[in-house]
């Protein structure tokens, strides 16, 4: 095929357009200027100019988590590239499809310690699904096509393409490939039918079965089959942190999140179950607690697209490898209808005994905010978080309805993720309501993006949970370090002035009565809104399983023992 010669920069932009990319997030710099120059000719692709490259990566991540599409971010060589690293690591830990483009110094200068040179390919090897350093422009069309293909097939993940300045400028007539084929890379398909049948037989035989739906259900878009499975087999469904949304939290068979700060009934049910079915989850340590004490009475079945997850953390009796798109419908088909009255009776008992509570002791708590946000938004908003107490309370109290609604850094636990991720989601889904729930610690890591949000008139809402502490750190210090508060207390700027400086709508709220109006003001204001919730400084997340302890050792909310536990939330019997 005869193709007109085009530059490397043209190839990159054309590749983005061919893959339907409408928005990219980045920051220019010396060696990536040829690409930024070319960008002006591609009005169909919006470039969002961030204020720090880390946020470009988090925005691309949020864009991907809210849509299932590949998020794209870019930065220049050297510090531009290293600033992306936290965002890439965040994405690989949670299997988020992302394309990361970096400029590199001229190919002839590589290895000479040139200005703004860093071995970013070497740095991102352990935190990407794959990465490339393209030194020949003729390779670029194929590499771009393969990068998209790898990022969004199989177990998804970030792919990084490093492109030297002279490769952006060089000319090539190499065509884009019709198809991508990589030896040794096969996209997992359906499991053998016997694997499905055996899993179904184990479920049919079980008396106290339970399923844990993870983020694999979200990415494979198989949530409807989780609901069907729950109905047909009368099966309780738990979610991992990132699996929230795999089943409507209001579904009677949804038990919510389990694990370190999961709902007590869910965690207890797994400890008492005789069969645990992991579906697209990875039995992370925050979910299992001490693995030797995890689900001690149960046989474990594991459905996953990545065979290295089998037996990695917990011993499994039976595995069903492959894509849930094939395996979950087949499983639903193969299981027998069942009613599990006794088992549900026990679960309802635990739910009644250990509900999530919002103590009404006169204080304004972060839990009031979560509950209020859920009510005011009807559980319909896309919600992102940072990491820590507010993240756990959001996971506990927000009643997620559907996939792609919950954006949280589960694996890496990245502070500063919530706000830029929410922005990425809002760019991707302008018609949806988006809330970033952030703590005062995490927000101060990436709040410079208020300027980006202001410039883009981005209608994103921020619920800032201000307790003047790194709350989870303080909680651990209280519980495990004799309350010695080493560097967990933290000052805050005057957020009203900060918001004014950035031209952002602002409301401060320090009591539950004013909450609905504060939230409503943010919802109805066009453009970015910052709502500062000044909450009780010392509030702990419960229930809790201490790190390294078995899930049998649940620390229950002390409020449960008091009479002030009036307001109950969570799945009610």
């Amino acid at each position: 095929m005869n193709m007109e010669k085009r530059t490397g920069s043209q190839v990159v932009m054309e590749a983005l357009a061919r893959h339907g990319v409408d928005t990219i997030f980045g920051y220019p710099g010396g060696v990536i200027l040829p690409l930024y120059d070319e960008m002006l000719k591609w009005p169909q692709i919006d470039h969002i100019l961030v204020r720090h490259e880390q946020c470009a990566a988090h925005m691309a991540d949020g864009y991907a988590r809210a849509t299932g599409k590949v998020g794209v971010c870019l930065g220049t060589s050297g510090p531009g590239a290293t600033n992306l690293v936290t965002g890439i690591a965040t994405a690989i830990m949670d299997s988020v499809p992302m394309l990361v483009l970096t400029g590199q110094v001229n190919s002839w200068a590589i290895g000479k310690d040139a200005f703004q040179e860093v071995d970013i390919q070497g740095i991102t090897i352990p935190i990407t699904k794959h990465n490339y350093l393209v030194t020949n422009v003729d390779d670029l069309p194929y590499v771009m096509a393969e990068a998209f293909y790898l990022a969004n097939t199989g177990r998804k993940g970030p792919v990084h393409v490093d492109i030297p300045k002279d490769v952006f400028q060089a000319l090539t007539d190499a065509p884009f490939p019709e198809t991508v084929h990589r030896r040794g890379y096969t996209i997992p398909g359906a499991a053998p039918l016997t694997d499905i049948e055996r899993a179904a037989e184990m479920l049919n035989q079980a008396e106290r079965p339970i399923a844990i739906a993870g983020a694999g259900v979200i990415w494979s878009e198989t949530a409807p089959f989780i609901r069907q499975l729950a109905e047909k087999a009368d099966l309780p469904i738990i979610n991992s942190l990132l699996g929230l949304g795999a089943i409507d939290r209001q579904d009677p068979r949804s038990l919510g999140m389990m694990g370190m700060h999961g709902e007590a009934a869910a965690t207890i049910a797994v400890q008492e179950a005789d069969l645990v079915i992991g579906i697209g989850n990875r039995f992370d340590d925050r979910l299992t607690g001490k693995t030797s004490g995890f689900a001690p009475k149960a046989e474990i079945i594991h459905f996953d697209i990545d065979p290295t997850e089998f037996g990695k953390c917990v011993r499994t009796m039976h595995v069903v490898p492959g894509d849930l798109t094939h395996n979950l419908p087949a499983f639903v088909e193969a299981v027998k209808p069942a009613k599990r009255k006794t088992w549900w009776g026990e679960i309802r008992q635990w739910q009644a005994e250990y509900p999530l509570v919002v103590p009404e002791d006169g204080r304004f708590l972060a839990r009031h905010v979560m509950k209020g946000l859920n009510e005011c938004t009807g559980g319909n908003a896309i919600v992102s978080t940072d990491v820590g107490q507010h993240q756990m309370w959001a996971a506990q109290f927000y009643q997620f309805k559907r996939p792609y609604q919950w954006l949280s850094s589960g694996g890496l636990g990245t502070m500063g993720f919530g706000f830029p991720a929410a922005m990425g989601a809002k760019f991707a889904c302008p018609d949806q309501e988006v809330w970033a729930i952030v703590g005062d610690g995490g927000f101060q890591m990436t709040l410079q993006e208020l300027q980006t949000a202001f410039e883009c008139k981005l209608d994103v809402n921020i619920a800032l949970i201000n307790n003047g502490y790194l709350g989870m750190i303080r909680q651990w210090q209280e519980l495990f370090y004799d309350d010695r508060q080493s560097h967990s207390s933290m000052g805050n700027p005057d957020y009203a002035k900060l918001a004014e400086a950035y031209g952002v709508h602002f409301v401060r709220c320090d009591n539950a009565a004013d909450l609905p109006a504060a939230v409503e003001a943010a919802r109805t204001t066009k453009g970015p809104s910052l709502v500062e919730f000044v909450v009780a400084m010392e509030e702990n997340v419960y229930p809790m399983v201490a790190a390294g302890a078995s899930n049998d050792n649940l620390i229950m909310d002390p409020a449960l023992a008091r009479s002030d536990a009036e307001s109950l939330m969570g799945a009610q019997p």
């Binding site: 352990p126 794959h130 490339y132 350093l133 030896r183 290295t308 990695k312």
Partner: protein
Amino acid sequence: MKSQHTIQALVQNEAGTLNRLVSLFRRRGFNLASLNAGDCEVEGFSRVTLVVNGDDEVLQQCVGQLQKLIDVVSVDDLPFTASVMRELALIHLTGVANNRREILDLLAVADGKIVHFGLDSLTVEVSGDAKSIDRFIAMLGPYHVTEVVRTGVVGLRTENRIPSELASPTFAATSA
């Protein structure tokens, strides 16, 4: 069960391929006893032989994680009983003026050869499986061994061979 496994990986040569392999071992805490990489029968691809210490669970993770690397085409845990494993060692000895004869005898037993000699030194070459090389080096104990260099094991499956990815006649064409 603690044991040692010899794994062979067929890899596509790209910038950073070897780095990726080694990085995986370091990151996941797999214990790599030796690594040997070299050209194979098709241009652009290499075969890498890795000797890994660890129990069966470690091995399973190791093979799986290697397989997940995009530039790894296939991975084979070589069965001890149906493979040949060979390693080459170069050994430099000094102070040999009075015991050349004895060393030559040992060398004959080990099927080795002299690759360089000086007035008072010898450089010898032996090849075989790792254990026989260990034994030969141990036998040199009484003499003055100044330097030992070993290649690490290369292995090849002799039985129950899975048809090689590279054997496909279209392979070279499509991978070029």
